[in-house]
Point group: C2
Chain length 389, copies 2
């Protein structure tokens, strides 16, 4: 990978293979495609590309997203069902601002994407975690929490979920649970916020159908993004939602005042998609990241001591590794760093602080570095176990 150390979000340390950050390899960003589309937008659309835009976002982008959804996800979709965002973080903030009231309960998976918790922290809501298993969110536990909330006189308003190539666990919600979750949501008037950022990065067959695609009129807000496939710095994503919810989100005061929150970058992405280069680019990403996933998985199997466990994810950026009993990830981290490898400890992602697992991102490094990282991690775990013995 390449990088500009002082002016990017995460700084890489010399001598350490950093499997901490869930971000695309800068060398794989769509630099050439963005450059071509940016010039074309400015030359062809002229001032309109830089004026206050339609609240819902540039029409070309919304049409291209809708076309792609209809072609690849099998749900009829029009531009009117697409609201352009400035990426999933901005979109989640907007959803919380518009759809929650003070005191509402927001449900999350545990583990979940840790930085989503930071966004929720800025809103006057109570966050409650629901455990996962290898088929995703445990619906029995969800039902129990919904019943408890009701008894306590609290409104469980939103569920934030990453059902497809989950961050950090890598699991997908099973088809049966997807159907059941939609029924529960409809029954309890629970808005399901589906963070669908990894959908395009599928390495085995097809990605599972999204909850929004399956949901018909169920209260689902699906957050889609170009951050992992084109470039995170563009800050362009979109929202699909059932009609009433989309209307409420589109009526946000921020949009009425400033227009589309990512107008220029969104115009570029619209042009890029219309040029037809996106599929080819995403196919290349799939091959590259699949190969990295395979390299890391194989090397982990080779180098990790007994007692470690992980599943190979079918998509996304992460392997979720469970440590041998008694070993905690946060305690392991300094040892791992001394061995030249870093990761994100599980406690960062778990609402109950569970620290028996850790997240390894395979997106930033090539196969050789990933193999070496597994060797170092294996040595670190072995050393930590020896230190305990």
């Amino acid at each position: 990978m390449t990088g500009a150390p002082s002016d990017t979000q995460n700084t890489l340390r010399e001598g350490i293979i950093e499997l901490t950050f869930g971000e695309p390899d800068p060398a794989l960003l769509a630099l050439g495609l963005v450059r071509r589309a940016a010039v074309a937008v400015l030359d062809d659309a002229g001032p309109a590309a830089l004026a206050y835009g339609s609240l819902a976002g540039p029409r070309t982008l919304r049409e291209e997203i809708a076309r792609r959804i209809a072609a690849r996800e099998g749900r009829a979709c029009t531009a009117a069902e697409v609201l352009v965002s400035a990426g999933n973080s901005q979109a989640l903030g907007q959803v919380l601002t518009v759809l929650t009231a003070p005191g509402d309960v927001v449900l999350v998976e545990s583990p979940t994407y840790n930085l989503a918790l930071g966004i929720m922290r800025d809103h006057p809501v109570t966050v409650v975690g629901i455990p996962l298993d290898e088929e995703g969110l445990r619906l029995g536990a969800l039902r129990a929490v919904l019943a408890e909330s009701r008894t306590a006189g609290k409104r469980a308003r939103l569920l934030y979920t990453i059902p497809t190539f989950h961050n950090p666990s890598g699991v997908c919600l099973s088809a049966e649970r997807r159907r059941d979750l939609l029924a529960i949501a409809a029954e309890h008037d629970l808005v399901v916020v589906e963070d669908d950022v990894y959908r395009e990065l599928v390495y085995e067959g097809q990605a599972p159908s999204s909850l929004w695609t399956l949901g018909g009129d169920a209260p689902v807000v699906r957050l889609g993004s170009f951050s992992k496939t084109l470039a995170p710095g563009l800050r362009v994503g979109w929202i699909n939602a059932s009609a009433g919810l989309l209307e409420r989100l589109a009526a946000a005061g921020v949009l009425e005042s400033g227009g589309c929150v990512s107008q220029f970058a969104a115009s570029i992405v619209g042009r890029l998609l219309a040029a037809g280069d996106y599929d080819h680019h995403v196919a290349k990403l799939r091959r590259t990241y699949a190969s990295r996933r395979d390299a890391l998985s194989a090397a982990l199997r080779q180098h990790l001591p007994a007692g470690c466990g992980f599943a190979v994810p079918a998509g996304g950026f992460f392997i979720w590794l469970t440590l041998p009993p008694g070993l905690l990830a946060t305690e392991l981290l300094p040892t791992a760093e001394a061995h030249g490898v870093a990761f994100a400890p599980g406690a960062r992602f778990c609402s109950d602080g569970d620290d028996r697992s850790l997240r390894l991102a395979f997106s930033l490094y090539d196969e050789a570095a990933l193999s070496e990282s597994a060797r170092r991690l294996g040595a670190a775990v072995t050393a930590a176990l020896a230190g305990r013995a």
Copy 2:
């Protein structure tokens, strides 16, 4: 002006001179400068321009903004005192999300920028209007509301103000009131959110010093923007604030998760400023908009019947016109449209619904169209008065 009718925020109607919208003339957007800077950023910075950015925004942009503040506003400023935003609407939303708690009172001027009220409506706060006069916010009224809030056990947390080239009234807060307002804010722990979007568009002498510049350690958040000077579709602005407030705003979960909310566009603006073309561009805008202001003012004086009143603003986009007694702006609007001119009625901006004034934006049209608009408006007012007689 040029425009793309179907995909921009506001649609212009055939045959009507629309003085309703406070937006820059698309023909005056910095299209060439943005094109050059966009290509330069992509060619020189490469993938770093498209990766997740520093939470506070691209360093070059923050340094250029700080340098410009130090040179033009006389307050020493470093890049660490600048937080890049996606424009003042996004920034105001972030300020409300991070700095207010449910039930807080947010004070606004009456009249005020009507779409800021839409942003506040999405937050669980109570909005209270404070009247203006020709020197800006009336501080006696502010003190009275602060006392009432305290008596009622409510916390007046924020004051949203546009002290310089006010939207819609065009007035500037006087130097004495600026000092007094800062003292009141410090005494009452009231955060002053200074919307400073029109600062660069000054047509007489110098713009008054901003509250943030004057404020030292007083609790001021100043929102600056490139929407009126470069292009609104870029969605790039910045926040200056006293140290503790800036730290809280920079710790927003949305930034921690997605990085700078306008990373790519902000990188372009940074490059553009560093190229040194901005001052020349802004000088041209000043000349052009000043000439439009003069044309509209002169034609209004010529064509309006007795009983109308307005002051010529020293900057910004707006003339605030008070109608003869008994005439309401909302009632006048259909007559005006029948005469081929439109405006924004005062009731949209006033928390108490006061509709005796109306807002005329002189930013979108050339001098000839503005003169003609005044002729039509004069005829419409005369007709409405005759209808009443």
